[in-house]
Symmetry: C2
Subunit: 453 residues, 2 copies
């Protein structure tokens, strides 16, 4: 153990390969099924939407896949990211626990998202794609893809949920600074959008509708592809540079984590930090507790059911086996927009079923209380999503204060909250409320999911 | 020369002493005068407002002053800051110039300001101060002092110009997250505020009024002191860790700058990067051009007069010899709030008179054009203030494209623009305008300045 505050690595220390957890799993994750035939889908089914390199990564059994040079060149704009010891927070909590955090907020758009957006844009550019489409809610993912597209000369078109487009203009501005075209969704540009507007001309939109629009725009044009910011295997794999860096940095700190915590929406941030540590755990070298933290308002891992369901609200995607609240789940309006999703990445869900990772749900008021304590101590304002991981770490540190244990806790701090100050304003003004997702709603939702033999 | 994208330094490489330029000046800067007697002021005159350690630093002739250990401990939360080679911008500009930038946006509040706020809070805490007061416009400086005060257990009270308090709630939220109390200025809490409100109950405030309120609140209470974020010698000196780090980083890149550019409002960002290079220049070791860049709307160095004037609008402060537009200068509403000041740091003014540094004024539309080009290439959104330095660097890089010269340009990128997206929105919508400060206004303003023999 050292007295360092942080460990920073040089350009040359960015991992040169992504870690693919699939060959190391005790049993393989169930296959993705065609929504019509309920048979496993093949590469050709996905080819209209994704470049072949990403489709191959999705099903690869190679343990490591090289990061292409041009992707490394872009990663160097902000990677490796720093790993900090939160000494001031430990002191404020009067805990014997050692709290570390891996911080992804220094990226071009302030979150871990560009770490997958960049290779996705690269492989698309390699295979001749000219335009990428995607959906975005508050804009975290849309801005990451806008940045990445700019690096490889691709056009980027983003369908942003109407209510965010109108009420949160700052991330839209960010996407436009990077040269992207942003549409309010539902839009008149797609069949899906026009259908919704015909039913409700004042629709404020949803992520499900925006996905349908972005997918439709890509499927109808051979030089356009679609890009997704979480859930899929290749997306999670790209994020593993985070955990590989953290393994090295923890070693330089001279400590081994007893607990890893990361927030989970689709699962990519959590997977990015944890999968390289899970590799060591499955190999019997270390034995940390590995914990997903989700909002009580969107508790797919703690209250959802593990079964085949659609990835989108309208039921257009393949069926994936995952923890789900049902694909027509409508989340309460919590501030952690990135965690308001009905399902969980199949790989994270599978690890939960195997007992390799555990899950906890926390309400947003406790999360923001923890975030303010964290910011006063550490000087970094977390995005609403990672406040869930911070709150869980604080719970653990407080248990250590009672028990006297010096547990080593590693937190995935996946982004800053500079574009979420409205949420902090609401917290400081006492205007935040908690939401509990009722069990009976989950049971109702399950009835609408197609049964898979 | 290397092929690195950035050079990051470790915790242990933070400079352990501040560089004081005063003993190295070819001639001393003129003394600060008492506003009544027009005689040089002594330490006792400043004691009601500042702790003695800072007053002594203000007049010190020591070339280096040690950074206290507890200040270094806080610096380690974000320092050393990275130095980048802007290879993608060079490519986008098709220039043979080599463009580097030293980035201060990774600090707790996103600018260079905490680098002086922290030692100011520390020395105050050491000498028994319980509360710090200050003024702020958009909130850059107020949030830095709020953060620093939280680190040393001081209360922090900020008078924020009313129009920003109402229209830009995000930095106020940031100050409150760090535990500061923020008042809309003019307020009912001070004699100065009540006077203004009696004349105009709907006053939207000004930096000059806010200074008067913060100074009055400090002067009337022995456990309260006042804190200033720029202009003064000790403030500029604290920022010199920036330039010392950059000297080392440029050496690791294997290059020597031909041009340094920094934006100037009060002068602290510019001084922070440039003074350690000026030391080398005055010693004859290097010979870069060193350029201040200011807005055409607030051109103290390019259109102002070098003479004794007040630091505040109401004429309560000592008289300092500086480039000034007159202390009752009312700046046009440009977005670079931190550059809307009538005077310039006495040390920077003196160096300008000596011909050691030069100055240039640029309009905000060109600055934002440059900023968008920069962001698309480099992935970092600059605050409105450093867009001035970027615009000047782009001008130079374009001249290099014509001349074929491979000049090495080093830019002071003093903060990010995450809280200034409204300005970018206005730029993208074509709603930004330029302002030119008319010469005759400067001549009129000079008549209101007391004549000093």
């Amino acid at each position: 153990m050292t007295d360092l505050t942080k460990v920073v690595l040089q350009d040359s220390e960015i991992p040169e390969a992504w870690y693919n957890i699939q060959p190391d799993l005790p049993s393989p994750a169930p296959p993705v099924l065609h929504p019509g035939t309920h048979q496993p889908i093949g590469p050709d089914d996905l080819a209209p939407l994704f470049p072949m390199a990403l489709i191959m990564q999705e099903v690869s059994q190679d343990r490591y896949i090289d990061v292409p040079g041009p992707v490394l060149d872009v990663y160097r704009m902000w990677r490796p990211t720093p790993l900090y010891r939160a000494r001031r927070l430990e002191k404020a909590l009067d805990t014997p626990a050692h709290i570390y955090f891996k911080y992804e907020g220094g990226s071009p758009v302030g979150s871990h998202k560009p770490t997958t957006a960049v290779p996705q844009a690269y492989y698309n550019a390699q295979e001749g794609t000219r335009r990428l489409t995607t959906e975005t809610g508050a804009g975290q993912w849309g801005s990451a893809l806008a940045f990445a597209s700019a690096q490889f000369g691709l056009d980027c078109e983003v369908w942003q949920v109407a209510i965010s487009f109108d009420q949160k203009p700052y991330r839209r501005t960010l996407m436009e600074i990077f040269g992207a075209t942003v549409h309010s969704s539902p839009s008149n540009l797609t069949e899906a959008g026009r259908k919704i507007l015909a039913m409700d001309p004042n629709s404020t939109g949803s992520l499900g509708i925006a996905i349908s629009e972005a997918v439709e725009a890509a499927a109808g044009d051979p030089t356009t592809k679609y890009s997704l910011g979480s859930v899929l295997n290749h997306v999670l794999m790209h994020q593993t540079v985070i955990g590989q860096e953290a393994l090295k940095q923890m070693e330089l700190f001279g400590e081994t984590p007893d607990l890893l915590v990361g927030c989970t929406g689709g699962g990519s941030n959590f997977a990015g930090l944890s999968f390289p540590f899970i590799k060591e755990k499955l190999a019997g070298k270390i034995d940390p507790t590995i914990r997903c933290v989700e909002p009580t308002a969107s508790p797919s891992l703690t209250k959802g059911v593990y079964r085949y369901d659609f990835g989108d609200t309208l039921g257009m995607t393949p069926l994936v086996k995952m923890h789900t609240l049902g694909h027509d789940f409508i989340p309460d309006p919590i501030h952690a927009g990135g965690l308001r999703y009905h399902g969980m990445a199949p790989l994270v869900s599978h690890l939960k079923e195997l007992g390799v990772v555990e899950a906890e749900a926390i309400g947003q008021v406790e999360c923001f209380e923890g975030a303010v304590r964290f910011t006063r101590a550490e000087g970094i304002i977390p995005a609403p999503e990672p406040t869930h991981a911070i709150a869980s770490a604080i719970r653990e540190a407080e248990r250590c204060r009672e028990s006297g244990e010096s547990k080593v806790i590693l937190v995935a701090l996946c982004g800053h909250g500079h574009f979420d100050m409205g949420a902090y304003r609401a917290f400081l003004d006492g205007n935040l409320e908690d939401f509990e997702y009722p069990e009976e709603k989950v049971r109702e939702a399950m009835e609408k999911i197609p049964a898979v033999a």
